[in-house]
Symmetry: C2
Subunit: 248 residues, 2 copies
DNA sequence: CATGATTGTTTAAGACATAAACAGTTTAGA
DNA sequence: TCTAAACTGTTTATGTCTTAAACAATCATG
């Protein structure tokens, strides 16, 4: 990482005037005619990186480590992938797999959007590093990412909202899932307990400075498990969207 | 970075059984009696790092670069700060400054929460690196972060919601601001235009795969500027919260 | 005034991404 | 069939980063 944006010439012929990284994401690359048979593919490399990240976290995904998985040198990967940035993009794309099929989920926009959010949430749960991976660089490019977006927008079509509003609602839902995943990632069980211990210790010393917070903790607002955060947030947002629809 | 979690012994005496990093965040450190006068403080270091990050991005904040700002060697900083992780935490704390005073903002919970969100948004706008800085590691520890949280929770007290619900609403609002900042950070003006160009190019080739998306773009859903994303999202969420309140 | 805590420096280790040069492999075209 | 181009994978090397370790200089307190 830490590489400045560099033009990086595109030498492909068949992949028509697309930046190399994007051609890769869309699988639009020409396979070579001459030379030794490639022993790898970008997709296999990305897959290995994904299982590695799933098991040991994104930090341990280095070119060296991934290459070792195939018994080749780190530099060998550069024959398939322009750089680490692009590898991570491929990882994201790999994990997004096929978008959810919402046709089975009733026909209401609300049920469908809710289902969409839950599927997306499941992906974040299965691959916690996804958050960091998409946080670092540009969003939304690969076909799988676009497909997810497409299904959400399709679910919103029957609402009667304007296209601009539908887009905003999509952003809202996607953002909610994402930010919740963020909050989860920060607080695993152990860490949460430790955080609670330290925070109450500190609050004891400064309870006058944080009255509302102190009270909230005393009332168990942070330890109650009766509310599922994802559903709570979704219900509020969707209720709010319903209000907007009714008003039109 | 890329440092495994290491216990790191605490040698302070006055800072009572707090991990060094946290004592630092709360300003609970004893100043030394003997030895040369320190030429720096953790706060001044953090401040320099903040102005550096504001000007040139978080990537350029390296121990070397920050130290150079004071004309000292990189290692000198380690006399004041245990490591880079803690420096970043101090940066966050520095930028959160004093929490907003919402007492001037009418008395309704809704107006106050909205104002809170706008202030938080302003912070993200002023310091785009804040996102990456808080994304990497644990959230919420320093007194300033807690103070922001406190004001939001205080604004929610008159709603009649349960403590658990208020907490969830807080998370929802904070998450919305954050995820919006995320989306903004990814898409500056130029990048946005380039993204639109490439995406429509790709959609032209695969429009059958993404019907809803294609239509949305054709309808200008992505280029309409009439809706302010922050206010749109807030209005939906707050409407939804209102529904919940009315139902109780 | 000397002792020991504390500051800042130099040196160096180890991880990382990736550039450059090179040796071996395969196939298209002569 | 042979040769040259295209391609793969390797080794070597560079620059960047965090941070450990050893050391020299400094200053209040006994």
């Amino acid at each position: 990482m830490a590489r400045a944006a560099k033009p990086r010439e595109n030498k492909d012929k068949k992949a028509r005037d697309l930046p190399t990284g994007i051609a890769l994401l869309w699988g639009e690359q020409d396979q070579p005619a001459r030379g030794p048979k490639p022993s790898l593919t970008p997709q296999r490399i990305a897959q290995a990186a994904v299982t590695l990240a799933d098991a040991e976290g994104l930090e341990t995904v280095s070119m060296n480590r991934v290459a070792a998985e195939f018994g080749v040198s780190a530099m060998a990967l550069y024959r398939y992938v322009p750089g680490k940035t692009e590898l991570v993009e491929l990882m994201v794309e790999a994990v997004l797999a096929e978008p959810p099929d919402l046709s089975a989920v009733g026909s209401g926009w609300r049920a469908r959007l809710s289902a969409w959010a839950h599927r997306q949430w499941a992906v974040y749960q299965a691959h916690p590093w996804l958050l960091a991976a998409t946080a670092m660089r540009r969003q939304i490019m690969g076909p799988h990412q676009l497909a997810w977006m497409d299904t959400a927008l399709a679910a919103l079509e029957p609402t009667g909202l304007t296209p601009g509003q539908r887009h905003q609602v999509f952003l809202l839902i996607a953002g909610q899932v994402r930010s919740l995943a963020q909050q989860r990632a920060d607080f695993d069980e152990d860490h949460n307990r430790e955080w609670g211990r330290l925070t109450s210790e500190l609050l004891n010393r400064h309870s006058d400075r944080f009255p509302a917070l102190t009270k909230a903790i005393a009332d168990g607002a942070f330890t109650s498990t009766e509310l599922d955060p994802l559903d709570f947030g979704l219900d509020r947002i969707l209720d709010g969207v319903q209000v907007l629809i009714d008003r039109a």
